[in-house]
Symmetry: C2
Subunit: 258 residues, 2 copies
DNA sequence: AGCGTTGTTCCATATAATGGAACTTCGTTT
DNA sequence: AAACGAAGTTCCATTATATGGAACAACGCT
């Protein structure tokens, strides 16, 4: 695709942040050198600047990790997000109806970023999923969102994907995905049938702002062993209804042009 | 603090992000111009670059908001944070013992950033507090953390504070704060007696890595109407014990030099 | 203790940011 | 609806900053 327009100095600095994020654990200077080919002097200065800004911190063993200020930015981003705010009561209602985990996600390029989550038992990590980015092609929310894109846009994205078989059921070809998206577009909802994680399936429906500047989806997720496919199918009308209400609310609360 | 060393281009870009974050709502181009005095061309390019990087997004009405990628970075920062991970079971235990809200925070300059939270009823917004930055001088965790800093460092920070009386009980002078921090340092724990928010008080204890590269605290917070000062005082040993265990675990799990 | 590796500093050069000004677009008023 | 003013965008010569090779320092391993 056309990534022609460069973001210059900022891009290099963010590339460093991104490398640290992708590592998923504290990384050493040399690891970063291997991940992004910046020369020592440059990398060192980038890290130094990022540290001064609080976006990167060091551990005593000279390993680098993401800084706490990122949490502060994310907190602000989350708290001020109107779409999330509008969707929230509907997520709660959907959760009340199903007693299963409900997600709100937004399409960002080829990925879905989860904006909110309501889950039954706060069992494990409540917030761990917020902000998590997952591939759009193997998640319910992602497929639902892709399905409502203008055809040209959708094809461009589908054709720039590189597929990975997370499970035996993961869709791994552009043709198969396009076909699936066509079906989803027609019926207005998507299933994720253990395509991202074995034992987990979900039903999802797309949401969007009137002008499609915001495209995402909501889903009800459950473990296959506990919730049957039939049960999931019975929830579809609820998911769709919630999605429609969110769309309607966005139109009302953000104005007709939103 | 000595912020003398500039972060150049990156700093200007982050200043834009920060301005959007501080606004707490979508802002227009002209608002940003007023907040940070960047000339139109420069501001426009900064915004444009930040958008290409996914750190800023636009609403249809040309207002700017924080981008979703910030959530992804924060998610990674949170998930990979060893201190938080180590503290977590102790936060849960403290919560089990008190049945009130328990916080973990880290000192960042003059502020406290909340890294984790365990609360009784997941009533309102579970994650809303994670990543939130609050002034160190009027929060239990903040005062506890400040109290264990080397004296020089502490004085520098205290003297660069600008105080704001959030409530009638807020400490608003460097002298009073230093005195309070001395008391806290001696006894090893802090109270926040409605200093940040009327009707909310808490008991806190400092935590830190052996080399003080990480300095923070934990607290039990409760509404004054429901939990008396006496009750809070009875919890102090529990808070201190949890803090000691966290300190010990950090020493063990991150190695003696951590 | 010595050596190889990892991380840091320096500086002439190349590159990207700067910001004034001209231009376009949008929203508002008459 | 047209005209006006304000908001936002583009352009480009100038200036400031990033670049990265190389020399240097610190660390950790045997």
């Amino acid at each position: 695709m056309d990534e022609s327009a460069s973001t210059g100095t900022l891009g290099k600095a963010i590339a460093v942040l991104d490398a640290i994020a992708r590592a998923g654990q504290p990384v050493r200077f040399r690891d970063l050198r291997n991940m992004i080919g910046q020369p020592p002097g440059t990398l060192h200065r980038n890290l130094s600047n990022l540290m001064k800004e609080g976006l990167v911190r060091t551990n005593p063993d000279n390993s680098y990790a993401l800084g706490y200020r990122l949490l502060t930015f994310a907190s602000a981003a989350w708290a001020s997000n109107r779409f999330r705010e509008i969707a929230e009561p509907h997520l709660r209602e959907l959760h009340r109806q199903t007693d299963e985990t409900v997600h709100l996600g937004v399409l960002e390029g080829l990925e879905v970023v989860y904006l909110d989550k309501v889950e039954s038992r706060q069992a494990v990590r409540m917030h761990s999923q917020i902000g998590k980015a997952s591939p759009a092609y193997c998640t319910g929310v992602g497929k639902a969102a892709l399905s409502i894109l203008p055809h040209v846009d959708m094809r461009i994205r589908v054709n720039s994907l590189s597929f990975h078989a997370f499970t035996p059921k993961t869709i791994v070809s552009a043709q198969a995905l396009e076909e699936e998206l066509g079906i989803i577009a027609d019926r207005g909802f998507a299933f994720d049938d253990e395509e991202h994680e074995t034992g987990i399936h979900c039903a999802a429906a797309p949401i969007h702002s009137p002008d499609k500047s915001f495209v995402g989806g909501i889903s009800v997720t459950a473990p296959s062993y506990r919730v049957s496919r039939q049960q999931l199918e019975q929830w579809v009308p609820l998911v769709i209804e919630a999605a429609h209400e969110i769309n309607s609310d966005i139109g009302i609360k953000l104005g007709p042009r939103a």
